[in-house]
Amino acid sequence: MPEQAWGIWSCYQVDPNCFLGGPMRRTSLLVVLVVGIGAAYMTGCAPRPDVTPGAPPPTPVTRIRSRVDEEVDDQSLVDLASRFPLSAPAGDVEVVNLDDSQCIACHTDKQAVQDLAVEPEEEEELSEGEG
């Protein structure tokens, strides 16, 4: 076994973490440095050719069709509703009023329910016998 390799092995035998500060560390740093410089050159550090950007396409505008179908003259506008599998919400969606403050105000007011609740009309009991 070469002396250096024996040195690495004996180092490892004594302390498995010895690579961090021993001969292995020097070799690793060198490899990382070379690879890093190569990668930087290939991905952007090289000088760029002159490029003139073109005009961007028109920005899509969301347009939901209303119930009253209007002709869309401006063809530059993209009707995004057509891209979705579900129909776009209609303009006349029923809005439920969930404000129950009046329900609570009345039904927790004993006097109010006593005043407003109406006893059902007494009906003659027609059934006979135990149910």
Binding site: L98, C106, K110, V113, L126, S127
Partner: protein
């Protein structure tokens, strides 16, 4: 149960508003119209008793229970369907269902009719100001429907002909047990399975289920020998007289109001042959109760709607809620053996029901060996 005044039925305790269920708001469960002070407008489209299958009410959080409940006997009334279909012909079914809708359909329990309000069959009315009751108060819910038989038997309210009252079931007095001590939430909610009848499947509840009675041949009760335990249900020895009903007829007034007429009930104790003998209910003898049906119970709605009336006994399998440790029939050997009074004999059966009860009549009253 004492009736509620109209306002008591709809009055909401403020403490309800602090609870979790109030977070959803009134309209989320009951519909109606919000943001108005006009009572009539506010109540437009209101749903008093949300349906268990409504995904926006009970289902939202209690999905497993409310889904199972749709197949429970308390909701789908399959017990009625089972006996009616057996006693009728298929061609008459639609007409029979007209009668059922008018007279029987109301007797089922939604989630709310146990946990929020009294049952609709008892004219409803909020329990405890709309505060949900995890365990329903039995006197406002269970016995509101199961009143004339179960309630009166269990609490000892039935009067003897000779004066006084039959004793309350020992589980109630002195036991102090509510319905739910035996009838579990799993049974009530139908999470144990979809059954055709309340005596379908395992005997549940059972006297010998874990935590209740340990009974075996050779225990310290003399009559608990192998023969008695194999041939007699617990109730055959340990229940006393219970209620029998006869001759129920349903009809309507000219303006469509449904009503019924049933003969006065009778108290009696009758052991008969087990009409439901099976591995789950292996006993040869069980108490039998006369159910109120008659051959012409639905005659108002059509002729002979119970075409197959004889296909099912009118003396039905029973588990009376009149349990006593010592009963007239177990007080001595002679009190039962050779005593026709405690057995269902031909003399107890109406002539027109003889064919229906052929299989449950005791022909030879057991004598002492």
């Amino acid at each position: 149960m004492p009736p509620l005044e109209a306002w008591e039925k709809v009055f909401i305790e403020e403490s309800f508003l602090a609870g979790y269920h109030a977070r959803f708001g009134c309209i989320a469960c009951h519909g109606g119209t919000g943001g108005t002070e006009e009572m009539d407008v506010a109540h437009e489209g209101i749903v008093h008793d949300p349906h268990p299958s409504n995904s926006e009410t009970c289902q939202l959080c209690h999905a497993e229970i409310s889904t199972a409940h749709l197949d429970s006997l308390h909701w789908d009334q399959q017990g009625y369907m089972t006996v009616l279909s057996e006693r009728s012909a298929e061609s008459d079914w639609d007409q029979l269902m007209v009668a059922f809708d008018n007279h029987c359909r109301e007797c089922h329990a939604s989630c709310g009719q146990c946990h929020i309000s009294r049952p609709a069959a008892n004219d409803g009315g909020l329990l405890r100001g709309h505060i949900p009751q995890k365990q329903p108060p039995m006197n406002d819910t269970c016995t509101g429907c199961h009143g004339s038989r179960v309630n009166d038997e269990y609490k000892g309210k039935n009067e003897m002909d000779e004066g006084g009252r039959y004793p309350a079931d020992v589980h109630y007095n002195p036991g102090g047990m509510s319905c739910f001590a035996c009838h579990t939430e799993e049974e009530m909610h139908g999470t144990e399975g979809d059954f055709d009848h309340r005596y379908d499947g395992e005997a549940n509840p059972s006297c010998t289920q874990p935590g209740c009675h340990t009974v075996s041949a050779g225990d310290d009760v003399e009559q608990h020998d192998e023969v008695h335990l194999a041939q007699l249900s617990c109730q055959a020895c340990h229940s006393v007289a219970y209620k029998h009903c006869y001759n129920c007829h349903v009809q309507q007034t000219e303006d469509g109001r449904p009503y019924y007429r049933v003969d006065p009930s009778q108290m009696a104790f009758k052991i008969g042959r087990n009409p439901l003998q099976s591995p789950e209910r292996p006993w040869e003898y069980v108490p039998l109760r006369h159910v109120p049906v008659a051959r012409d119970s639905f005659a108002y709605y059509g002729e002979d709607l119970l075409f197959n009336f004889d296909s099912r006994p009118t003396w039905a399998y029973a588990t009376p809620h009149t349990i006593q440790r010592v009963t007239p029939q177990n007080s001595s050997c002679d009190a039962c053996h050779g005593n026709p009074d405690v057995f269902l004999t031909e003399a107890d059966v109406l002539p027109e029901e003889m064919a229906a009860n052929e299989s449950v009549i005791v022909r030879d009253v057991p004598t002492l060996p």
